[in-house]
Every structure is written in C-alpha cells, then in structure tokens.
C-alpha cells in the first residue's frame, strides 16, 4: 500500500482475522487521522512487514491463521527496522501467562477481549501518542 498520502508516522498496521474487529479498530484509527494498513492473518502481516517498516504502531491479534501474533512480535523485535514500532496485542485469551509472554516477547500493550469502546479508544490513543508509552518504548 502506498504511503504517499500519509507521512510515515501516520500509518498503523492492524492484523486480525476477525473482520468486525478489523473494522472497529480501523474506524477508531482513521478517526484520529491515521492511515490503516490491514492484514487478514498473520502471514499477510508478515509479508507486509518484510517490505514495509513505515508504521507508527502495530495492533496484532494473538490467534491468527498461519502465524500467531506472538510470532510476529518476536520477528519485529529482531528486525532493526521494525524493533522500535510500538505493538499492542489483542486477545480473547484471559491468561496472565499469555500477557507475560507478550510483554516478554516485546509487546508494548495488551488488551484482552471483550473490551468496551472506551477501553479500545483509550488503548489506541495511548499506543499512538502517549508520552508515557514513548518513554516505555524508547
């Protein structure tokens, strides 16, 4: 996808195999005047990341076909051009160990489903611009 219309810092990668979730997240991100690059599964996200690193942030679902969110995080954290991109992991798994694994792999934030619209908005706002988060990601 071309980044001509939006500067590098205004693009967000959203990888989730749930179309309703992709739509919901994309709606919020677009409202904040960011461009959304969507991936329908982990493999599609991986392919995008292989050739494109111009993202302000990435929002990844944990369980996706072909490649899991956790694997994508590990990949991103080992690639120099991707390693500073803040990542939020979204999952239906309410497992404390999974949250710990996500952070250990390099996730910046973790949002378990189900979440309210306010929680999702707040999470995205934090991921995209919060000063405290920048400090964490630095």
């Amino acid at each position: 996808m071309s980044s001509d219309k939006f500067p590098v810092s205004k693009r967000v990668l959203v990888a989730d195999d749930d179309p309703a979730m992709r739509h919901l997240i994309s709606t919020i991100i677009k409202r904040q005047e960011y461009e959304v690059v969507v991936a329908e599964d982990g493999r599609a996200a991986f392919r995008i990341l292989q050739s494109d690193s111009a993202f302000k942030a990435a929002i990844l679902d944990m369980t996706m076909p072909f490649l899991e969110g956790l694997d994508l995080i590990r990949y991103m954290r080992t690639e120099k051009r991707l390693m500073r991109i803040p990542i939020m992991m979204i999952t239906a798994e309410q497992d404390i160990k999974l949250m710990a694994s996500s952070f250990a792999a390099g996730a910046t934030a973790f949002l378990p489903k189900p979440f309210t619209p306010a929680q999702l908005q707040s999470a995205i706002r934090i991921l995209l611009g919060n000063r405290q988060l920048r400090k964490i990601a630095a």
């Binding site: 749930d18 709606t27 919020i28 239906a92 949250m99 934030a109 973790f110 619209p117």
Partner: protein, 144 residues
Amino acid sequence: MLFERTTKIESQETKLLVPVPAGVVGDAVDMELLNAFEELQADDETDLIVELIDLYLTDAPQRMLAIREAALANDWLLLKRAAHNLKGSSANLGIRQVAETCRKLEGTEYEHSTESLADLLRQMDDEFSRASEALLSERQRRLQ
C-alpha cells in the same frame, strides 16, 4: 482494560478473571454492550452497529463450519483454535452465549468425551440461531 508493559502483572490477576456480569447470562445478545459501540459512530457515516452485525453474521458461519470440519476430522487442535476465534469475535459484540459455548468447546478434552462434543456443537448452532434472530431484529430496527 489495557495493560502496558510497566503494569504490575500480579496485581491484575483478579481483574482478568472477572466473571460475566449477572443479568446478561441467558440472553442471546447483550444489546447494551453491542450498542455501546454507538459512541464510535460518526454522524456522516453508515450505521456502525449495522456494519458490525453484517460482518459478524457473514463471518461466524464460516468459523462454525471450520469447527464442524475440525470435529469431523478429529482435529482437536484445529477445533479449539477455531472455537477460540469465534469466542473472541462473539464476546466482543456481546454475543455471550455463543462465546460461552465456544469457551466450553475450547476447553473440552474430546479424546475422552465424544458425546459432549456433539452436545456442544448442537448448543453452538442453537445459540447462534438465537443470536442471529436478535441481531437481525436489531439491524432492522436501526435501518427503519
């Protein structure tokens, strides 16, 4: 409920295990939860709730088919994965009973209980039918 990397994980354990609130169990769809997404609605855009309903009603049958196919193939790993996915998309839109059935499908050890699998698959179909009816009714109400 967002957790950042600096969050003290141990202290969040109780929050993560909060049960489904009383009053919504037994309903096919928690309309209050679904309609809460209205706050994301922009004035000049298509009805977001209708879009979410349409996306769910298109996607969920495919996920249910994947669950059935995995059951027929005795592929428990695939079945649990498909159930997990449907659980997530259902729970977030307030379709709690489908989500709850998927939670059971995800957690059952089928090697020891083929009978309960058949029951759960039936339950999944029933709950989805009830949810579809409620969602379509809500969709119609919104488009009037």
